[in-house]
């Protein structure tokens, strides 16, 4: 004990203690932090699967089949993965309200918990693309806006328009706007390629690049209307419309006024 009491005044002690303290805090935090991202326990998981199966049988199986095998009006869901379920149900596209031309985004029918259960259930029968975890979606940290813009213009703008406002496809189909979509859903849509959209695999667009695209979309979403009213950000069509209605309307109105006889 005497040696210890002598050593405790050594000048190396303070830095050493600091390092030890930081180390313990870091370790504790990482263990605690990892614990939340840790896969759920087997019991919890099987409960979720059961819940998912219950929802599926009730809400989805009439079209997609009792065993995900699909039918004449709906595709099989074997191997579509949790990401696909999370996107389709999470954005309200499924269950479908109108099967005419294209399945539209709407308010989700199921809540977050039910969507998770459905996703886990579908993924439990056959593997497919997984839902990206929050730790893989830190686009603010891992993405680059400028690079994302380049990637968006190269890969996405030809359908979704230069500002992500959406565009027309053939036969009444369309590429929807990408504004107001959750980062997780944007990621999933690139991985799963729903409806007319192609799949952008990790070889075509790496996960980091996907985050850059998301970062650019979020920046475009938050961008203030720099030059005044944005007119929908769809290019010269609305500009032409405004000039023929408001612009020329005002000027011709003034011309009529100027040529009126003074009374």
């Amino acid at each position: 004990m005497k040696r210890l009491s002598q050593f405790r005044r050594h000048r190396i002690v303070a830095p050493l203690l600091l390092v030890l303290a930081l180390l313990s805090i870091g370790t504790t935090f990482s263990i605690a932090g990892a614990a939340t991202g840790e896969p759920i326990t087997a019991a919890e998981r099987s409960a979720l699967i059961d819940e998912g199966q219950r929802i599926f049988l009730k809400g989805c199986s009439s079209c997609h089949g009792i065993n995900l095998e699909g039918s004449a009006i709906a595709p099989a869901l074997i191997g579509v993965g949790a990401a696909s379920v999370d996107f389709q149900v999470g954005t309200g596209r499924m269950p479908v309200a109108d099967m005419s031309v294209q399945i539209a985004r709407k308010d989700p029918v199921y809540n977050e918990k039910q969507v998770e259960a459905l996703a886990v259930y579908v993924a439990s029968l056959a593997l497919g693309p997984e839902i990206p975890g929050e730790e893989h979606l830190n686009y603010e940290r891992d993405g680059s806006t400028a690079e994302g813009g380049e990637l968006f213009r190269t890969n996405c703008a030809m359908c979704h328009n230069f500002a992500g406002q959406g565009g027309a496809l053939t036969q009444g189909k369309y590429a929807p706007t990408v504004m107001g979509v959750k980062a997780r859903h944007i990621y999933e849509v690139m991985v799963t390629g729903p409806q007319s959209m192609p799949v952008f695999s990790d070889k075509t667009i790496t996960p980091e690049e996907k985050l850059s695209i998301i970062k650019w979309i979020k920046a475009a979403e938050a961008e203030p209307q720099l030059g005044g009213a944005s007119l929908g950000r769809v290019g010269p069509v609305t500009e032409g419309l405004l000039v023929w209605t408001l612009g020329l309307g005002l000027l011709v109105g003034v011309a009529v006024w100027l040529a009126m006889k003074a009374r």
Binding site: F162, A229, V252, L258
Partner: protein, 528 residues
């Protein structure tokens, strides 16, 4: 004489002794112009042109017309660190670093759209009132030239910033040049100084945009106005207005004040649009790269009809003698516009050939009194409108939940069916309006007052119209069609039988009218 009058007199005398301006001013300041709102439409175009010159000069101070690669390091974060041309980077700088730059850019672009729209409505006024007739045919041709140059000038301005939309437009222009048989590829190489996009195009079109075409505009506008001055302005028919006089107000002070004030109003409206509504947000489009394209890439409205024609063309190509001819671009991109604009420029001569009318006209026609001309005009506008709608087919499809294919088929069929239909309907409408005019003169205005006669019959009371109004409704000429007998007076067949037959038929179509009320008609009704 007050002190200020004395000073003004001294100054005026000083100037007059040295320039002899007094005589010229006295003559010209009192020149009379007729008053009508539709005579101010051309002024809108003129004032927009002045605004374009002023705002454009401002933009040249900072715009760098070069395709040299630079790394963007300005304040617009989403593009920071990207490679782009100096032209695009300097346009970004004008938008975000130069004080008032974005406002000036937007004023310039809005003024361009207003300029073109004003030219079109001015052209419509001149056409539908027959103001292009002798002696004003040259001025009509100059006007068509200004419209054509305006389309080119506007397109070049749209192309200068070298953003993604600009580049897409230039790519289509290149395709149209290449579609010219035999010489197309060579012309494209000359234009771009090599393969697309190259590094020469932006500097070249910059010179054309800021020097050559504005110079041509100034010259043509000057001649246009000098001819108006020399030939005097046309006027609408009315009591006291003849082919030999001009009824209106003097240039000074009435029109000086009106025109001066109108200039500032046009400037104000343009500045208002520039301040509140975004136009051509090039920072959103991104720098041009040939590998990229955006959905909804459109030209400005005055080119939209051309884009619409190209969009509706079926994929026709022939391969002859080792050369591909792309009819799908050649026909809608060059042949149809060529026919349309040539026909438009020659119309005054075509009409005078059809009617055989070689006299001077200073009194304007009411559109209904020239049913054939009015119908032809509405037909052309319908053609343009269908093409323009198809130019925005993708935006229309997504806005109104329609199928782009259906819009395209509507346009493909409509471009052939709707214009003739518009012709027939317009001609009928004109004749109906003539019939209504005739009724009005003969029977007076319907007052809406019903009177019961002693024997129980109800009649509506008609009020006679004023003599001024009756004059307006009956002053127009109604000329019989040309008499073009195949056999002349000496019993010899005229040469050019087919030509004469065609001319006689056209002349007959042009002369169709409801007979206007004559003095005898009125007498007959009085005796009735």
């Amino acid at each position: 004489m007050t002190a200020s009058e004395r000073i003004a007199g001294t100054v005026a005398n000083y100037v007059d002794e040295r320039t002899g301006a007094a005589k010229w001013m006295k003559k010209n300041l009192t020149k009379v112009f007729p008053d009508h709102w539709s005579f101010l439409l051309g002024e809108i175009a003129l004032y927009s042109f002045v605004i374009l010159l002023l705002s454009g000069t401002f933009l040249t101070f900072w715009f760098d017309p070069s395709q040299r690669e630079v790394i963007y390091d300005g304040s617009y974060a989403p593009l920071k660190g990207l490679e782009m041309s100096a032209a695009y980077a300097s346009t970004l700088d004008i938008s975000f670093e130069i004080r008032g730059g974005l406002l000036m850019r937007q004023i310039h672009h809005w003024a361009a759209l207003i300029f073109m729209a004003a030219i079109v409505v001015h052209l419509m006024r001149v056409y539908f009132t027959g103001a292009f007739r002798k002696p004003r045919e040259f001025n009509w041709i100059i006007g068509v030239g200004l419209l054509t140059l305006g389309i080119v000038e506007g397109f070049l301005g749209y192309s200068l910033p070298d953003d993604l939309l600009s580049g897409t437009g230039i790519r289509i222009a290149e395709a149209i040049i290449q579609a010219l048989p035999v010489v197309g590829s060579y012309l494209a190489f000359f234009t771009f100084g090599g393969a697309f996009p190259g590094e020469a195009f932006i500097p070249r079109i910059y010179t054309v945009h800021v020097l050559l075409l504005p110079g041509a505009f100034l010259a043509l506008i000057t001649v246009h106005l000098m001819l108006v001055w020399y030939q005097k302005h046309t006027q609408y028919p009315g009591p006291g207005r003849t082919e030999k006089n001009v009824v209106g107000y003097p240039l000074f002070p009435v029109y000086m004040a009106k025109a001066g004030g109108f200039f500032f109003i046009v400037f104000g409206v343009t500045a208002f649009l520039g301040a509140v509504a975004s136009i051509n947000p090039i920072w959103l489009y991104g720098p041009y790269t040939p590998g990229q394209i955006s959905a909804g890439s459109q030209p400005d409205w005055y080119m939209g009809w051309l884009d619409g024609l190209v969009r509706m063309a079926p994929p026709l190509e022939t391969y002859l003698f080792g050369r591909t001819i792309s009819w799908n671009i050649l026909i809608p991109g060059l042949i149809v516009p060529g026919i349309l604009f040539t026909g438009m420029a020659l119309y005054p001569f075509i009409e005078s050939w059809m009617t055989g009318d070689k006299r001077e006209h200073h009194l304007l026609d009411r559109p209904r009194n020239a049913p054939n001309r009015t119908a032809l005009g509405v037909m052309s506008l319908t053609f343009m409108l269908v093409a323009l709608i198809n130019g925005g087919n993708d935006i229309i499809a997504i806005t109104f939940d329609l199928s782009i294919n259906q819009i395209m088929w509507f346009s493909r069929i409509g471009i052939f069916v709707l214009p003739p239909l518009a012709f027939v309907i317009t001609k009928r409408l004109c004749l109906s309006l003539q019939r209504a005019d005739r009724d009005l003169v003969l029977h007076g205005r319907e007052t809406g007052r019903l009177v019961m006669m002693p024997h129980g019959e109800f009649v509506e009371v008609h009020e006679p119209i004023s003599p001024e109004k009756a004059w307006l409704l009956t002053q127009h000429e109604q000329n019989p069609p040309l008499a073009l007998e195949e056999i002349d007076l000496r019993g010899v067949r005229r040469p050019g039988v087919l030509k004469n037959k065609l001319r006689a038929r056209l002349s007959k179509a042009h002369a169709v009218a409801i007979p206007k009320v004559t003095a005898e008609d009125l007498k007959a009704i009085e005796n009735h």
